[in-house]
Point group: C2
Chain length 244, copies 2
């Protein structure tokens, strides 16, 4: 509707699909992308399987302007994301001097040994740009339109902060919302007619249940601010707020 660039996210990790860990990175990235006017068009959660990662990266990379991955770039044997992303682009991957230098400096600083396992985190595909990791040094990377980032939320968020200024956002997508404490079944008719009255806006109804009472949050989105103001005014007429 807005012609904005679109993004996709790939969350990688058995621990999330098993229900052991609850992902927070997708929700965080979704909010950041929305603020940058880059709609998150889809997200996929997949296990730590090389062929699955490679196939998903290819599919999403072709379908969207930006792809972001989370998880699987640590030092252990189940961290296979970097190699799987390299394979998706047919890129050669090995320990790269620039990444090794970052890790060596970090560990020297802390008096920690740079062992073989840690060196795995310097495996970066040829042609990739490094993503700064101010939390724990081991870098992410950008290959083609794919941004490969860590799964640990504090590191993921730091990497997102490093990456955001490099992205080109679209036209600001504006929104206003109102919470209606009435059943969605009462809201639906008037809201559908309002949506027909303002075809250039999108209107969503998000039901909830709180303390046994049903209600819905109505969100009106679009790029034309005055139009959204007008729609919200009409909404107040056709569906006057009711106290909770």
């Amino acid at each position: 509707m807005t012609g904005n660039p679109t993004a996709a996210m790939l969350v990688i990790g058995d621990e999330i699909l098993s229900g052991r860990t609850r992902d927070s990175n997708m929700h965080y990235l979704a909010g950041e992308l929305t603020r940058h006017n880059i709609p998150l068009a889809e997200a996929r959660f997949i296990p730590d399987e090389a062929a699955t990662i490679t196939a998903a990266v290819r599919t999403l990379s072709e379908a969207h302007d930006y792809v972001f991955t989370s998880g699987g770039i640590g030092p252990t044997h189940d961290d296979i994301t970097a190699d799987a992303v390299a394979a998706a682009f047919g890129a050669h991957i090995d320990v790269r001097d620039d990444a090794r230098a970052i890790l060596a400096a970090h560990y020297a600083n802390r008096g920690t040994e740079m062992n073989e396992a840690r060196l795995r985190m310097a495996r970066i595909p040829d042609g990739a740009t490094l993503i700064d990791n101010p939390v724990s040094a081991a870098p992410g990377f950008v290959l083609g339109n794919v941004h490969v980032m860590a799964g640990v939320p504090s590191v993921f968020q730091a990497m997102v902060a490093s990456v955001m200024p490099t992205l080109s956002g679209g036209a600001p997508l504006l929104s206003q919302s109102v919470t209606l404490y009435m059943p969605e079944g009462e809201i639906a008719g008037p809201l559908r007619r309002l949506a027909e009255e303002f075809p250039e806006l999108s209107m969503g109804s998000y039901p909830f249940q709180r303390d046994g009472a049903f209600g819905a949050q109505i969100v009106v989105r679009g790029t034309d601010g005055p139009k959204i103001d007008a729609a919200m005014a009409r909404l107040g007429e056709v569906l006057p707020p009711v106290a909770p």
Copy 2:
């Protein structure tokens, strides 16, 4: 590895991709499926777009034994999941008498009017089985191997409870875990050798950062309990626990 049936989840809703709402249904379902020995093999988050929903339902339905959807079955104009799922199976869909009767009884009970919008929630594809909704009456449904459920968490969870006894689980997948308060870079070498020593088990390392200290949770999974006991004993030898 275990030959268990696999499942996929489809979370439908613009509000989740925009970051406005944080989904909790995937994490909930993942835990329930794990308890029933049905691994969640993948999850996809997609917007309220009919063609996108239909295509995703087809893909996941062919690739997995069970598919579960969340969201988009309410009374408002943006609730298009039922029609999109019907389209994926080439099934006819309209208001169905059994679903209408459930809603009529529910609204009569509460002295609420059964209007046109509410009647939309009785749109059920031909051949589908209804899923009981003890919270707000409007049923979900099962068409083929696809279980169509509500997005509101309390309703979703009630529908999952209705559905679980109808699924056939696989061999119990057992797991044991230990938290190691040491950097993953120290864990990786010994853990890789342990994984080679027990090829029939899967070993995952899930790093975290707490109060500035790094650590990882090590999870050993498999179907052979005594083997897992043996691996955990070896793990305690090669990576003795360190106090946080």
